[in-house]
């Protein structure tokens, strides 16, 4: 008996693009815009990046906010995990594309970077719905802490290595200068921040700030994840650039004895 393979047959040798494309001789089109006529020289790169990631062309001021965020989240410090990979790429003499791509891939992480965006945004949206359902901010925090044996392990709050987050302060300044008001998600995030500071000496981190702000701008978690796909790239490239200029293999070289072997003692094969 022949199976119904229509869903695949209809797609064979054919691309149905909802995004746009290059029509040779006519132009390059992107969500209805002619890229060369409507976008080049008239919009910023970040605006087009968001258009590609979401299908919506944001206002210039939102793109400016996003550009500032990208600066906040990509530093030339090779101790940051994704940046270490960039530096190792340099010391191993990879190409800059390979090192940067490897570093970007590393930030698909549950601990830091773009990978945390979905959980963080989902949390603040869920928290706001709980608040609108009648729970107090304190109760929301208490319930969340109960899931983690009383610890304030809440996505978007606290951060590795240090307490406090200078990036949030900088971005709050940028937000004010750009004229963005505090929305519902941000107001709740600020309340959570205040309680965590008071009770746990922890605070909102940059991921929590981003999530609350972009939730107020009506972006979904998946959209935010797509927008931030290459978030860490420039810091990774910087660290690659540092080590590619130095002799190969000299970035944090390791002696045999620097590795702490704790496995089985020497043994004979059976």
């Amino acid at each position: 008996m022949s199976k119904n393979t229509a869903p695949w047959d209809e797609q064979r040798n054919t691309i149905h693009s909802t995004k746009g494309g290059w029509v040779v001789g006519k132009g390059v089109f992107n969500h209805g815009y002619s890229m060369m006529d409507d976008l080049v020289g008239k919009t910023s790169y970040i605006q087009v990046m968001v258009l590609n990631a979401t299908g919506r062309l944001p206002q210039r001021k939102l793109a400016d906010w996003l550009e500032a965020i990208h600066i906040c989240l990509s530093w030339p410090d090779p101790r940051i995990w994704c940046n270490t990979i960039g530096a190792l790429g340099g010391t191993a003499r990879t190409s800059p594309v390979a090192a940067t791509a490897a570093g970007i891939l590393a930030n698909d992480s549950k601990m830091y970077g773009a990978g945390t965006g979905i959980d963080s945004l989902n949390f603040i949206q869920w928290a706001l719905s709980e608040k609108q359902r009648g729970l107090s901010t304190g109760e929301i925090i208490k319930n969340e802490c109960a899931k983690h044996r009383g610890k304030p392990n809440i996505m978007g709050f606290a951060r590795p290595i240090a307490k406090g987050d200078e990036r949030v302060v900088a971005m709050q300044r940028v937000q004010k200068e750009l004229g963005f008001p505090i929305g519902q998600h941000q107001a709740l995030a600020n309340e959570i921040d205040a309680i965590l500071q008071r009770n746990f000496s922890e605070s909102i981190n940059i991921g929590g700030y981003i999530s609350a702000f972009l939730a107020d701008q009506h972006y979904t978690a998946n959209e935010v994840c797509r927008i931030f796909s290459i978030l860490v790239s420039s810091g990774v490239t910087a660290c690659y650039t540092d080590t590619i200029k130095k002799p190969a293999g000299t970035f944090l070289p390791i002696k045999c004895s620097d590795i702490d072997y704790q496995g089985k003692p020497p043994r004979e094969l059976p």
Binding site: K3, N4, T5, P7, W8, N13, T14, I15, H16, S17, T18, G20, G21, V23, V24, F29, H31, G32, T54, G55, R56, S95, V97, A98, A101, A102, L105, P160, I161, A162, K163, G164, D165, E166, V168, V169, N190, A194, Q197, S201, E202, S203, P253, I254, K255, C256, S257, D258, I259, D260, Y261, Q262, G263, K264, P265, P266, R267, E268, L269, P270
Partner: protein, 275 residues
């Protein structure tokens, strides 16, 4: 209202280890140069002795399980690895490799590119961990009852294939015959364990719904039975497919860009949707 003072940024002073710890590999330095190793042991066995006396499969197993496999374990792992050595030229990961090859991408990047795509969740490495957890959870339950329960809850709005459970579902609207054959062949071996045995019964009951094994399901079952940890096995699944992925990519590396189809303009349809 008083202006809120941000929490000052202070180090957590986390206690990081001074030396990276491993239980896998021991290198002894040479007398003259502490950066040069003069011997290496894998879980206690000398590397050169392993080279001489054991197979690649045995040493691969040793790396992840810290002990050498039995003959039965080694045999089923080897047959699984051969069965999974090439996802074939139609798999998205292989096509990514071929695309990189024909696009004159640095050949050194062909494998990382292909493996990244092979990390997806659709019948690929990204689904292995969840599939192994599915076996852990259900392999003591009645496979007939579970198959009927899950298959009868097919959502109405499915476009394309339906994954009824991690590692099982439809493939192009039918049963993946090669995956079923792989499972059947492996299930005849002495190394076949409870997950693969249970999976065979589960798949048999799913077949009436035109659902069956995925390759990822077979791999997850065998690797579960061999005692590998779920978190390890997505990467192993990627590794098993590496030879085929790379072979297809590099096959096209010396060919002109016209050696692969390029969708014609008349078959490129722009259909905007309201997002």
């Amino acid at each position: 209202m008083t202006k809120k003072i941000p929490l000052p940024v202070t180090s957590r002073n986390e206690s990081f280890t001074e030396r990276t710890v491993t239980k896998i590999w021991q290198e002894r330095p040479s007398q003259e140069n502490p950066y040069i190793a003069e011997s290496a042991r894998c879980h206690g066995y000398d590397l050169h002795e392993l080279m001489e006396k054991r197979s690649f499969i045995d040493v691969l197993y040793l790396l992840f399980r810290s002990e050498l496999p039995s003959i039965e374990e080694s045999k089923i792992l080897e047959q699984l690895m051969i069965g999974l050595i090439n996802p074939g030229p139609r798999h998205p990961a292989t096509r990514a490799a071929m695309n990189a090859g024909v696009g004159k991408t640095d050949p050194l990047h062909i494998l990382p590119i292909a493996l990244t795509i092979y990390g997806g969740n659709a019948n690929a490495a990204g689904s292995i961990e969840a599939t192994m957890r599915f076996f852990r959870k259900h392999r003591n339950s009645d496979p007939t009852q579970l198959a009927n329960e899950l298959a009868s809850n097919r959502p109405m709005d499915i476009e394309g294939d339906w994954q009824v459970a991690p590692g099982f579902g439809s493939s192009y609207g039918g049963i993946d015959i090669m995956a079923s054959k792989l499972a059947a062949q492996l299930s005849t071996l002495d190394g076949c364990g409870p997950s693969l045995t249970w999976g065979m019964k589960f798949a048999e009951n799913l077949s009436q719904y035109q659902l069956g094994w995925y390759h990822s399901g077979v791999a997850a079952a065998v690797l579960s039975d061999l005692g590998f940890q779920p978190r390890v096995c997505g990467g192993l699944f990627q590794m098993f497919a590496s030879p085929g992925l790379f072979a297809h990519g590099v096959e096209l590396a010396n060919k002109p860009r016209t050696a692969m189809p390029y969708v014609k303009d008349e078959n490129y349809l722009i259909e905007y949707e309201n997002e």
